[in-house]
Symmetry: C2
């Protein structure tokens, strides 16, 4: 509840990791499952479904993990570029930047002398002036420098963890439709549990989040299954 | 440059759409390409690669599009839940919430009378008081209510647009390795162009962003190709 920098940081890092696990595992549980379901509709070899699913997990975890790394790096570069620009503007056109502080504070209801006193206090210190402009004009918080690497690893491994489960049944020597059935049951249970946990972290209804998450997975898998059968039937 | 609500909104919506296109197209250009490359290493039928790729595009676009929808909806619910909580706290423990406004402003360098006057001005109006706490204590901006639906559509269609290109060569009656070669060339060019555009929007070096994006795609495809061959060789 206190705007103390250390607390904000801890809170930010915690929720960023949870967010990364959710990003990786959402797609990891859904896409390899749906792809495998789609292929199971057109091939008779469980082994081929397994190979395709594993290729997808590798491709997806690298694309999402490295994508997360580059996105976080790009956020950092964006923040520092904006910070440098704002710093130059404070040096070059201090009256204009002072006026912007005044407008923000006027928006919060300050008028006349209290307004001028507050503007004076904030613009008296360059570091605070910058921080105030970054938060209140540009809505940017200082990014965590370790975030890029952690984000990549968390998203990538969550994708792999999510993707292995739906593929496991295809590794057994059973008919491909039996494997599909087991894959669907396992994934549905996993999506319900994962959705509930996700809802809890987001502070929304767990039951609703569980059903929504399971629905997305089922829709994706059904669409992939019917499209694969349709395309296959066309030839 | 002005913190006027209408401007902030327009800026926010614009960059949110760009962000969604980038999210969808990054993965759309990378994952179906990499999956197809992986399968091309172990099957001789271009058609099977095409079916698997299309199944992946359908699954991926639904998972990412609906995932984006639910994430945006969850952001909105989170914002409104926090807003309601903050509102209850202002009613229940106004002294505590006034003290929090004081701490934020003290962090910006206000002291003594100017500080008390500013605290008085902000806490005189409940709406402003709430807005100030949301931005400066919780770092939350009001979400755009149309965002969830737009986000879903933008991410989903960008994924499809990105994924169709790498698969196109497999639709021709050519040997699977010829299709793979064409797919790699087309995708590499597309990733370089897309990376450069992405870099431009993020305000970072276009050449660097182009090379990074192409590298992620190449790594994902190579890993999928070698894993598929490895697993296939084991049986």
């Amino acid at each position: 509840m206190h705007p103390h920098p250390a607390n904000t940081e801890a809170h930010f890092t915690g929720s960023a990791v949870v967010r990364d696990v959710i990003i990786g595992m959402s797609d990891g549980l859904t896409v390899p499952f749906a792809l495998a379901a789609g292929l199971a509709g057109v091939v008779t070899s469980s082994f081929l479904v397994l190979v395709a699913g594993l290729a997808e997990i590798v491709a997806g975890s690298i694309a999402m993990g490295l994508g997360g790394y580059l996105a976080a790096r790009s956020d950092q570069e964006h923040y520092h570029a904006e910070l440098a620009r704002e710093e130059r503007e404070i040096q070059a056109v201090p009256e204009l930047e002072t006026q912007e502080v005044r407008e923000v504070l006027a928006g919060y209801g300050l008028r006349d002398e209290p307004l001028e006193n507050a503007v004076g206090a904030i613009t008296a210190d360059h570091r605070r002036w910058l921080d105030f402009m970054m938060r209140n004009e540009l809505n940017l918080e200082p990014p965590d420098p370790r975030r890029a690497r952690n984000s990549a690893a968390t998203i990538g491994f969550s994708y792999i963890a999510g993707g292995i489960l739906p593929l496991a049944p295809y590794a057994f020597k059973v008919p491909v439709m039996t494997a599909l059935l087991w894959s669907a049951v396992l994934t549905l249970v996993a999506l319900l549990v994962f959705g509930a946990v996700k809802g809890r972290f987001a502070g929304v209804s767990m039951a609703k989040a569980a059903l929504q998450t399971a629905l997305v997975g089922s829709l994706a898998a059904s669409a992939a299954y019917f499209l694969a059968r349709l395309v296959n039937g066309l030839v």
